[in-house]
């Protein structure tokens, strides 16, 4: 009967640890700062001891487990309330490169050699030290780098191009199931979704993943990879129609002999051109 006892104990402790780990939260476990790692190892050891029944009274083990789980959580809350405790618990970041110059004393303080600094930079695809404007070592030991402005990757802001604001795409179909919550957040419903899928010529069961982007276009991925759904090009087509209208208006302005009509066509052509320029970031990019 010993094996039955171990089985029930293992399952029970498995469930308990699962909930405890969820309570501890994402931050605590992903963060690899030294004490966090030690914390995790101690919890793991305690849990295995509990499962194997190494404690004379398993309540002692649960007690110890409770302390090691609750203490970091309490420290985190206290760190949120007071900056001093925050600095004590987490430590402060160290600046390693400022204004392009390496701070050698800080490097010494972190026991980080120049070689290691260069290696960490290479990990971020930075091979020239001169490109670095600012580099800081975070409390968990990772390095974060700010490049000099002329070495940063180009953004639309730098070129002065207007780009339409894009919200995130919502996944509305997963594994053939329609998800109501994302649809509702977009102000759509299942009827709309069914119509759109019918328009694409497939049925709901064929769809593996479906996403709706910020402007309301539906993109589908099907189970059968042989079928190709053409990417909806509605926006590009609207832009092209408007361009055609503009060209037509300009042509009419040249062809017509009626002076009033000529001015009307020319004015409308200009207005349309202006509209086209405004719509470009929203329809094309």
């Amino acid at each position: 009967m010993a094996w039955l006892r171990i089985l029930t104990r293992s399952v029970g402790i498995f469930v308990l640890t699962f909930f405890l780990v969820r309570v501890m939260g994402k931050r605590n476990l992903a963060r690899m700062h030294p004490f966090g790692l030690v914390n995790l190892i101690v919890i793991a050891v305690l849990v295995s001891f509990l499962t194997l029944g190494y404690f004379e009274n398993y309540l002692f083990g649960l007690f110890a487990l409770g302390v090691w789980v609750l203490a970091p959580i309490t420290l985190d809350y206290l760190a949120l309330k007071s900056k001093r405790i925050h600095d004590l618990v987490r430590g402060k970041e160290t600046v390693l490169v400022k204004h392009g110059k390496i701070m050698e004393e800080n490097l010494l303080q972190e026991r980080f050699s120049g070689e290691e600094l260069l290696r960490e930079l290479r990990k971020k695809n930075i091979f020239n030290l001169t490109d670095v404007e600012f580099a800081v070592m975070e409390t968990d030991g990772s390095l974060n780098v700010l490049l000099k402005s002329d070495r940063k990757p180009l953004t639309a802001h730098d070129i002065g191009q207007k780009v339409a604001p894009q919200a995130e795409a919502q996944t509305v179909i997963l594994d053939g199931n329609m998800l109501d919550e994302p649809l509702a957040s977009l102000g759509l419903n299942r009827a709309w979704l069914k119509t759109e899928i019918a328009k694409a010529g497939v049925s709901v069961e064929n769809v593996f993943i479906g996403q709706v982007d910020a402007s309301g276009d539906l993109y589908l991925d099907l189970f059968d990879d042989a079928i190709q759904i053409p990417r909806p090009r509605v926006k590009e087509r609207v832009y092209a129609s408007l361009e055609k209208c503009h060209a037509d208006l300009a042509k009419f302005a040249l062809e017509t002999k009626n002076a009033a009509a000529k001015t009307m066509y020319a004015k409308d052509a200009d207005k349309l051109k202006e509209i086209l320029n405004e719509l470009k970031p929203y329809l094309l990019r």
């Binding site: 604001p165 910020a214 402007s215 609207v238 129609s241 009307m264 719509l279």
Partner: protein, 68 residues
């Protein structure tokens, strides 16, 4: 004088494009995008009005092309 059928074609294309813009207007949720689309739709309405007036004039003069 421009042939009225050409003007009617342009009118139809413009109305079609305006219809799709109206559809996108209801589908987007971003205020900035909505404002730009509304402005475009209003401008298109103005041009459609001008074109329709011109077509009426043309139809009076070219009686054989009357009607759609």
């Amino acid at each position: 004088m421009t042939v009225s059928s050409q003007v009617k074609q342009t009118l139809a294309t413009l109305e079609g494009a305006q219809g799709i813009l109206k559809l996108y207007l209801t589908q987007t949720q971003d205020k900035e995008t909505k404002a730009v689309f509304e402005k475009a739709i209003n401008a298109a309405s103005g041009i459609i009005g001008d074109l329709q007036a011109r077509i009426r004039v043309l139809e009076r003069e070219e009686n054989q092309y009357k009607g759609f």
